[in-house]
């Protein structure tokens, strides 16, 4: 299999010699940006995001975040002294396109790492391909199977998954809400797993299951399904829906007068959701967030890092695009940023020089602990070795007085579950 860059390789002596001369030149001339001129080739990162299609707004912000991370890293010396260059491609919320662009990034553009899209279907299909082409892929999707049934030695996930999210909200719900619950979800993998994961935690905590239903993926009118819910016998409605459908569902439920006592537990993070749009339905919805949207809710020690991040990607304190005012995915788009920093950490820790060192890279990443900082802006984390899944704090928010209020933080260590797979037994 052909690789473009890494094959050249540099002996240690050459490296030391060049660096010494380079350092001397820099200090003589005082020009800071000589990184690109170093004898070492740059590290190429491929950014694969859904820039068109249904997940367009995630993809746009994700790309921004990844590129901003590359730039930030370059400004502070690159990865192991090597400059970072990147190529960005559109996976179009479509598996076939995603696979094709993955091949392009790796085979044509010579990318050595892939920061992948939030579409789980694409990641799951891409992982075997990435493995085949000896390239490590960082997945942004939250489907359980990415670090479960469909886990792959060459795929890592730097964000919690649906299981964590629902575990967190189930724990918080058990504290604040009644125990009788009904589940409504979208009939595809994510919707169903959101509900299943909620039940796993809520049932042992006293949850009383009243019923469940799954609506076809392209549904507009939820009233026929809402009609079946015996509202007076239900305290919690678990909603396995993403933003757009959640809006519809919440509004329609509110209009039917169902939300007087019943609370909605949303499987989705409030990404891209405009609170004003929810109207009065807003006060009955609880969200589980992989981070927080509002600066006000960011834990104090993380605020400076978050501020720098928002500045780098052009987002304001309320999670909106500085230029257009459109709401972005603040609680979610930090992941591609951190993925780039995971690459940096693992390269530097393992001494990775080229693809041939991927086994070392993977070994370094497995079990790696990182601390909050300009790179890992959402706090301390660790990457579990067996399933390549990161564990971090999960946030539960609710809308109060017209804005998101933090209702609970469930620590990463309280979200640990037994791994579904053991990748340490697989050879890289």
């Amino acid at each position: 299999m052909k690789t473009n860059q890494g094959k050249k390789g540099i002996t240690r002596r050459e490296f030391v010699k060049t660096t010494a001369i380079g350092a001397a030149t820099i200090s003589l001339v005082g020009v800071p940006a000589l990184i690109g001129r170093a004898a070492q080739p740059p590290i190429k990162i491929g950014i694969l995001m859904d820039r068109t299609g249904a997940l367009y707004s995630f993809g746009t912000w994700g790309e921004r975040a990844a590129i901003a991370a590359c730039k930030a890293i370059n400004a502070s010396g690159g990865i192991a002294g090597r400059k970072v260059v990147w190529t960005s491609e559109d996976s179009a919320t479509n598996v076939q396109t995603g696979l094709r662009k993955l091949r392009k990034l790796i085979q044509k553009d010579g990318c050595e790492f892939i920061v992948g899209p939030c579409n789980s279907g694409i990641s799951v299909a891409a992982a075997p391909l990435a493995e085949q082409m000896n390239t490590v892929l960082f997945a942004w999707g939250t489907a359980q199977s990415i670090t479960g049934k469909k886990a792959n030695k060459y795929m890592f996930r730097g964000i919690n998954n649906t299981r964590h999210a629902m575990m967190a909200i189930a724990k918080v719900a058990a504290k604040h809400m009644g125990k009788r619950y009904y589940c409504l979800g979208a009939d595809y993998e994510w919707g169903r797993s959101a509900v299943a994961e909620f039940r796993r935690i809520f049932d042992p905590l006293g949850g009383q299951f009243v019923g469940e239903e799954y609506s076809p993926v392209k549904t507009d009118d939820f009233v026929p399904y809402l009609n079946k819910i015996p509202t007076d016998k239900v305290d919690v409605l678990v909603a396995g829906y993403f933003t757009g459908d959640l809006l519809k569902l919440a509004r329609q439920a509110y209009q039917k007068g169902m939300l007087k006592h019943m609370q909605i537990v949303a499987g989705a993070m409030p990404t891209g959701l405009s609170i004003a749009d929810l109207g009065k339905a807003a006060q009955s919805i609880w969200f589980t967030g992989y981070f927080v949207r509002r600066m006000a809710n960011v834990p104090q020690p993380l605020k400076p890092y978050n501020r720098a991040f928002r500045k780098a990607i052009g987002m304001d304190d309320e999670g909106r695009d500085i230029k257009t005012g459109k709401v972005g995915s603040a609680s979610y788009c930090w992941t591609p940023w951190e993925h780039v920093f995971w690459i940096k950490e693992a390269v530097e820790k393992s001494g990775w020089r080229s693809r041939d060192d991927n086994p070392k890279f993977i070994a370094a990443l497995e079990g790696m602990q990182v601390k909050a900082g300009p790179g890992f802006i959402t706090g301390d984390k660790f990457m579990r070795a067996q399933d390549h899944q990161v564990f971090h704090d999960q946030y539960v928010v609710k809308i109060e007085n017209g804005n998101f209020a933090l209702k609970g933080i469930v620590k990463g260590k309280d979200l640990i579950y037994p791994p579904d797979v053991d990748l340490t037994k697989v050879k890289a």
Partner: protein, 330 residues
């Protein structure tokens, strides 16, 4: 004169064959991968060309066939543990049965109902595929673990991109050849006659419903075979393939390349996949608009597609020459 033309045709085919056989050696890996994909998509579009270009029925539900084919292969390989060839056979059988049954239902209808009908059927399959996650894996699909395939005494890795290319090329070329021969045969020509004038064909004594059914089934089998190749190339499949978006692609590629020419679908798939690939890297925010505009422009200005327009032009030239000859003789 005719001998020379026939000789010319053989030469042309030989050159084409040589190009395709040599391709992996002078193409970069990425483009080789694209070509492999294009061969598969071309076969898929060929399925559409059979029912539309040759028979005149607009089937907008081709995604049903490619989905069935791909799942036929995937389920056979994953659950029955068979090898690649048996998987392809499974894909063929599944598509055969499915397209025959659907064909029985659907070929009773005329063109406009046919369109919507076929869309609805593919949507039914889409919802079912998404719903029966235990079987299909839903939108997460099935990831295959099959590692190799046999050819005679040799075994090739399914990770070997060059081997895969030749495999796909072989299967597609064989299928294409059979389809070409079919349309040269009396049966094939009868089907084309249905497109040109159904009434007259019936009057002559053919059972046009039967002919349409045969064509529909053939179209489904060809598309299903392409569906079987999908997981061979990608090591996975998912319910997304059933969505009517893919049906539209088959229509697109065939129309751009030249409906009815049988070669056209491959050309159209090649050009459009290449164009989309280049445009989407270049103008991420605008390329869907460009694709849409391109479609409209092509269908209005060159409705016979590239090959179709070329054929027309050549015939026109030949006609002019003939007239010229006759004029000279007169």
């Amino acid at each position: 004169m005719r001998l020379a033309r026939k000789g010319g045709r053989w030469m042309g085919l030989a050159v084409l064959a040589a190009v395709f056989l040599a391709a992996p050696h002078f193409l970069q890996p990425y483009w080789r991968g694209i070509l492999t994909e294009v061969l598969m998509w071309g076969l898929f579009a060929l399925g559409f060309d059979i029912i539309f270009g040759k028979t005149g029925l607009l089937n907008f539900g081709m995604s049903a066939f490619i989905g069935m084919g791909s799942y036929g292969y995937a389920l056979a390989v994953q659950h029955l543990g068979v090898g690649m060839w048996s998987g392809l056979l499974a894909a063929l059988l599944v598509s055969l049965v499915f397209s025959y049954l659907v064909g029985l239902l659907v070929t009773r209808f005329g063109s406009h109902y046919f369109v919507v009908f076929t869309i609805i059927i593919s949507m039914i399959l889409f919802f079912l595929a998404m719903n029966l996650r235990g079987l299909t894996g839903g939108d997460m699909g099935i990831i295959l673990r099959l590692r190799e395939f046999q050819l005679g005494p040799w075994s090739f890795s399914l990770r070997n991109a060059v081997a895969k290319y030749y495999l796909v090329l072989g299967v597609v070329a064989a299928a294409f050849y059979l389809v070409l021969r079919f349309f040269d045969s009396p049966l094939g020509r009868a089907i084309v006659a249905v497109k040109e004038n159904e009434l007259r064909t019936e009057v002559i004594g053919y059972d046009t419903k039967q002919l349409k059914l045969i064509s529909f089934t053939l179209s489904g089998v060809v598309a299903g075979l392409a569906g079987g190749l999908y997981p061979v190339i990608n090591n996975s499949t998912n319910a997304e393939l059933f969505f009517w978006f893919f049906s539209g692609k088959a229509v697109l590629w065939t129309v751009v390349g030249g409906a009815g020419t049988l070669w056209g679908p491959f050309l159209g798939a090649g050009i459009m996949v290449y164009l989309e690939d280049v445009l989407s890297s270049w103008l991420v925010d605008y390329y869907p608009i460009m694709v849409g505009v391109l479609l409209i422009v092509i269908i209005l200005l060159a409705p016979k597609g590239i090959l179709g327009s070329l054929q027309q032009w050549l015939r026109h030239q030949a006609g002019k020459k003939q007239k010229g000859d006759r004029g000279a003789a007169a």
